[in-house]
Symmetry: C2
Subunit: 240 residues, 2 copies
């Protein structure tokens, strides 16, 4: 019988993993000895905070990141085909959300390997909740284009859709581009459109700024802190 | 100084709340004495499983549901304006996601009441993770229209967008309409479009079915179990 593929959340804040993750999740992680991870070093660091060192020493690590070739992903199913359970971890938060990993899950389900998603923190969901924007219709758009002209075009089209569908529009950016997002937003969006920047969620630096574009011009956005953006074209932005 | 508004997740599975929620979340809940809830009876049932009975007895409950008038929502901020912390709970999972509640959060942030979202289970996120579909671009569409013609039109338009944008398209339905969704999907979607039905997540009845439409025709979908649907127009549905 095939082993299971567990989709394992990793803590995102600066609390201890034992405080930020549910006991049922911690217990499941501690029962696993096969881990598919983006980066072995940081995965070991996380796991060492919850697993006994002898259990960690007897664990196997397999790498899955954006450089993994599609043809190599299939071989990561080997432990499960040999009847062993495995855990898929991302660098932070929940695997398969805003990160590679879904391709492995798709392959697993095609091969009748049972997939079990475990609950945990997601900065995208926390940002949406804290934004007060429409949680009954929300669109996660990943990263916006890196070049200015295309980024501005993308922002305009998200704003247009938000106005039409009353949707909350979410996107992320690498921290060093936070300021560019703000500049582009101030340049091309309507003054009454609301932009939320949710920074450093679950850390001591957590800060959530929610303002119409007209008030963003004079607002500083830290450059080195991970940020989830949520946008709504509606002044009454909760949508209902 | 204003009190804080905590966005409090509620367990969705059939494990004990202490197992399904993180200790930092349980501790925060137990420190609160003001709760804004959809339904007092079920909120008390949940809270009684984690709080001391004397603490629960000294707690205040305020109702916020789809019948609450916009003009009455503002008065729910009173405890926080009096300097007390309050917790917003939904019926299951994370507040403000696929439920009313975001309007209160929007009002709170306008009045400089600080909002703190706590991590917890979300059936939408768990369904997306387990579906193997594109977690780098996903759209949550809420409930589809109840009448058949409009539901079919909506399904076609989600399929069209998924093909164009490689997006995973999520939607929910009241359990007694699960079969209607399946029938409409089989009628109007392309045979190679993939539909995932994630049922009873985190319960003993958890079941995840992922199949192309061509194979859904002969698949029974239980009528009484909450279900999150995830759809992708791409045969290679993980998107990358």
């Amino acid at each position: 019988m095939n082993g299971k593929l567990f989709l394992v959340p990793v803590s995102i804040g600066d609390s201890r993993a034992q405080d930020e993750l549910a006991p049922m999740v911690i217990n499941t992680i501690c029962s696993l000895r096969n881990f598919i991870v983006e980066n072995e070093k940081s995965a070991r660091r996380f796991l060492s905070s919850i697993m006994k060192s002898e259990d960690l020493d007897s664990s196997n690590f397999y790498i899955l990141n954006k450089h993994t070739r599609a043809s190599d992903i299939h071989s990561l199913l080997a432990p499960m085909k040999a009847g062993l359970d495995a855990g898929l971890l991302s660098e932070a938060g929940s695997p398969c959300i805003a990160d590679p990993g879904s391709e492995l899950v798709a392959m697993a389900s095609r091969e009748a390997i049972s997939v079990k998603a475990l609950p945990g923190p997601s900065s995208i969901l926390l940002a949406l909740m804290a934004s007060g924007m429409n949680g009954q219709r929300f669109y996660f758009n990943g990263y916006l284009p890196a070049d200015r002209a295309n980024r501005e075009k993308a922002l305009k089209s998200l704003e247009k859709r938000s106005l039409k569908e009353k949707s909350a529009e979410l996107f992320i950016e690498t921290p060093y581009r936070n300021a560019s997002i703000k500049e582009s937003a101030c340049k091309v969006l309507r003054p009454e459109t609301i932009l939320c920047a949710a920074m450093g969620l679950l850390t001591k630096e957590e800060k959530i700024i929610i303002k119409p574009i007209s008030e963003w011009k004079n607002t500083e956005l830290k450059a080195k802190i991970p940020c989830v953006f949520v946008m709504s074209g509606m002044a009454d932005f909760s949508g209902f």
